[in-house]
Amino acid sequence: MSVQDTAAPLASTPTVRTETSGRAARPLRKLPVQRDWPTWALVITQVGILVGAIAFWEIGARAGWIDAFFWSQPSAIFNTLIIFFTAGDAWTDIGFTFRSTILGFLIGTTAGSLLGLSFWWSRNYAAIVQPYIICFESIPKLALAPLIVLVFGIGLPSKVAIACALTIVVSTLTTYAGVKALDPDGEKLFYSLGATRMQVFRKLVVPACLPWIISVLRVNIGLALTGAIVGEFIASQHGLGRAILYAGQTYDIALVWVAVLVLSTLAVAMYAAVSWLESVLRKGVRQ
């Protein structure tokens, strides 16, 4: 339509022609297109960057333009890694950090989810408690870590407690958000069928909030690990956090890198495990 409307008077009237000539001056552009590389090319590039960086680091340290005292070097780190696992405390440290992380994660997530769900039972109770939860959320919990270590001692419990403190608030607030997002008509349906409050809770509130509870698992595993490591930084006899701190204080930079490497591997493994757990649970609750 519009093409014809403008095209018809084009030949006859010069005013229209100037207008269209202005239009013709617009640059002709094509839709930008990105070409996707094949997967193997991406992987080769990724590996290449890693190998290149390590090679640059090693060569630089040997040639002297990277200070190996401060930065260490890949070959030394590799040797230390072997020693850490064969003669050192690798497994004790990994086990200690792993245990405090998992315990803190489980306790914090469970307690937080239950707390969040409990707000469904009473609006008054929720209104009274909520400001405290939000206050607690805004406190940088790691600032409380020295206090927690004083109270719970330098063993495992203090690490678990810090990991808990970090995870519980996230779970509580997310689960409570789930409770608030419940469709009131759902409750109406249940009550019209003569349900008790407990039946509504078990058959409606809990299943409806499960996706919310599950959605924080991956965030919480990372937070729990952070909590455990900070606890070990402050005072501990074991753990990867302690290993990093000890190595730094004794200028054993290679050991710092080794501990960081092992810690990262642990973190990735736990994250992958929780992601898997999440996908299994999601299938279980069907949402």
Binding site: D183, D185, G186, S192, L193, G194, Q199, K203, L204, R286
Partner: protein
């Protein structure tokens, strides 16, 4: 006339809103005293503009809201404010996404304490007979809108009460599906001999389905006229073209003030 199955006796609902210039008493009448008596096995519809209190009446009958005045009487017993006495289907299907169709349909029985295996055994033949065969073990997300409404309606029926309240069950369906669902509903109604109270915006739907249509008005919500529908059953679609049907429809539309004439709200007229 036999004793009514369900009797809504002078039920009213008021809210305190605080005094304003046009409402010095500060009381908002959501529902003026409304009285409806429905004999066993009847199909009765409420039609009216939005905000006329249809859903409020339903909530009061289902015991989900206490009326500020009046009583709900079911089987000669005062049932005001008690839940679980009637089947109530809300506008949304409210199927639980984490349950299969079968497990959704037995929700009422499950809540009433019927053992799971028995509830499922009772529900399965009904699902198969009433158009949900092959869907029993699917989750609601796999169902079309019409199928979801069927499941929700079967859930209401399987709750096994004599009275069922249907709040615009087909409001969100396309015209074609809606017609099919109306036939399906009439089939269920005659098979189960329930007493049905039906809310709709659709005048033709109300007349086609009902034995009696109550026309409501707003501010305050009230019944302005009760129109019997003497058309013989089973009804044909074409009966919507008969003079009797059209006369009832015309009366309803006039009462509903569709062309901006006639019935004004009481408080404006006063």
């Amino acid at each position: 006339m036999p004793a009514p199955k369900l009797c809504v006796d002078n039920v009213s609902m008021t809210f305190k809103t605080g005094p304003t210039s046009d409402n010095p008493a500060g009381i908002f009448h959501a529902l003026a005293p409304v009285t409806v008596a429905i004999p066993q096995g009847r199909f009765v519809s409420l039609i009216g503009p939005s905000g006329c209190g249809k859903s409020t009446i339903f909530n009061i009958i289902a015991g989900l809201q206490e009326p500020t005045g009046g009583k709900v009487i079911i089987d000669d017993v005062d049932a005001t404010g008690t839940i679980g006495r009637v089947g109530y289907m809300l506008q949304k299907d409210l199927l639980l996404p984490w349950r299969t169709v079968l497990d959704n349909v037995i929700l009422g029985m499950e809540i009433q304490g019927v053992p799971l295996a028995e509830a499922r055994a009772r529900a399965l033949p009904l699902l198969q007979r009433y158009g949900l065969a092959g869907f029993e073990y699917l989750y609601p997300s796999a169902l079309s809108g019409g199928m979801r409404q069927r499941a929700a309606l079967l859930r209401t029926l399987l709750f096994d009460t004599d009275v069922i309240l249907l709040d615009e069950p087909f409001g969100a369906l396309d015209a074609q599906t809606k017609l099919q669902m109306q036939e399906w509903l009439l089939q269920l109604w005659s098979d189960f001999s329930k007493t049905v109270l039906f809310v709709t915006h659709d005048v033709e739907e109300a007349i086609y389905l009902s034995d009696e249509v109550h026309v409501m008005a707003t501010r305050p919500g009230r019944i302005i006229e009760t129109i019997p529908v003497p058309l013989p059953r089973p009804r044909q679609r074409t009966s919507a073209l008969t003079p009797d049907f059209l006369a009832i429809k015309e009366r309803c539309l006039t009462l509903l003030n569709v062309n901006g004439a006639a019935v004004r709200p009481i408080d404006e007229a006063a």
